[in-house]
């Protein structure tokens, strides 16, 4: 399945707002992270959000989920 992944901060400045990522069916967040790392779409300390909430590595990604990479934040 192809899942659009939203990017922010330095990843957005380098790669744009959103990139399509090819994943095996029933891929977990952990699998997504290793795919993103291999494509240079990751930064140290980033977390993955699924449907607008931080997700653990064991969380299974569905085709229609809203997936985002959240680099370390700097609000405040």
């Amino acid at each position: 399945m192809t899942v659009p992944v939203l990017l922010f901060a330095s990843l957005r400045s380098k790669h744009g707002d959103c990139v399509p990522v090819e994943l095996p069916a029933d891929a977990t967040v952990g699998v997504l992270k290793s795919v993103l790392r291999s494509q240079g779409l990751w930064v140290d300390g980033a977390r993955v959000a699924v449907n607008r909430a931080f997700a653990t590595d064991e969380h299974t990604i569905e085709q229609r989920d809203e997936v985002a990479v959240i680099p370390p934040v700097s609000g405040g």
């Binding site: 901060a9 330095s10 959000a49 985002a68 934040v73 609000g75 405040g76």
Partner: protein, 147 residues
Amino acid sequence: MIRLQPEPIDPELIRRSLEGTDAGGVALFCGEVRAVTGEVRTERVVYTAYEPMALAEMERLAKEAAERWNARVALVHRLGELRPGDIAVVTAAACAHRAEAFGACRFLIERLKADVPIWKQEFGPDGSVIREGERTVEVENADEVGG
């Protein structure tokens, strides 16, 4: 009051949103844009957010603080371009007593800075950096990174 807004933040408006006769203390924290960090001068900053998630996280933090300290709370962050001295964020808590109010207010700003997906891009005489936690990432083209 939980908000992300491009308009300047009025702390008095936020304080008033927490008024009530049950509270004996209101603690309110204003985070402002610094002109100098270490030796780096900042002329302007641009805040961007993953807005729907940022609001969801802010709601979650507000609920947790409200329950833990029996507080009425407010959490407002500004987005877009700000100058040194501008207020970037306000967290506020109204409680029966000051200890709880300070506790809830502190919790809100500390957790916002750790978990709410908002990012700061700084512009100075030497170019532009995006802050990601404690580190800075140089931006080659100085265009603003959209939110």
